[in-house]
Amino acid sequence: MYLGLETTLGVLLLASALIALRLKNLLAAAVTLSVFSFISALIYLVMGAVDVAFTEAVVGAGITGVLFIVVLFHTSRRSID
């Protein structure tokens, strides 16, 4: 189908995963994880899984991001690595 589009989005997904792991500011890492979820929802949509893309967009980008940020406000926001 759209093999070129899938590969491009996959490279973007890898890049956002690496950025989320490398950032020392944990709040920025949580937001980058939301970006990661949105890109993975796009890949599911390109592959034709509409239900899974819908769930990932609602759950991964909405609720997981909110939970991450609330947890960071209750604990520490900096990481040393």
Binding site: A49, T55, V71
Partner: protein, 123 residues
């Protein structure tokens, strides 16, 4: 290594690399929140693998179209991995919530989320 093989398998290589990135985050990072980020990446790579296996060329989304009918299964993408992964995503966010609860409990008791400091203070 012909071009068809690369075009058919490059997505699997990307998914393998993504799984390795998640595993690296869980093994090498010392902050526990970073470990949870790595676990999320790991889960996403596995879900992505299932959806990649389910996809089918020249087929449409698994909602029955009246003009296509349901006579020929070659017109629709395989719906079974979609079902399994749909529940897996919701279960994964619930289990991530359990991880957050453990994290907050650890922070209240020991005052840190760094793994080495935590192991020192637990001794």
């Amino acid at each position: 290594m012909e071009i068809e093989f690369i075009a058919g398998h490059n997505l699997y290589w990307i998914i393998s690399l993504l799984l390795l990135v998640g595993l690296y985050g869980m093994l090498a990072k010392r902050n526990l929140v970073k470990k949870l980020v790595g676990m999320n990446i790991f889960q996403t790579s596995i879900i992505l693998f299932y959806i990649a296996v389910a996809s089918k060329r020249n087929a449409t989304v698994p909602v029955i179209d009246a003009t296509l009918g349901s006579a020929d299964p070659a017109h629709y993408i395989n719906p079974l991995p979609h079902t399994l992964m749909l529940t897996a995503i919701v279960v994964s966010v619930a289990t991530t919530g359990v991880g957050f609860a453990l994290l907050i409990s650890i922070f209240r008791r020991y005052g840190t989320l760094d793994e080495d400091t935590l192991l020192k203070r637990m001794r």
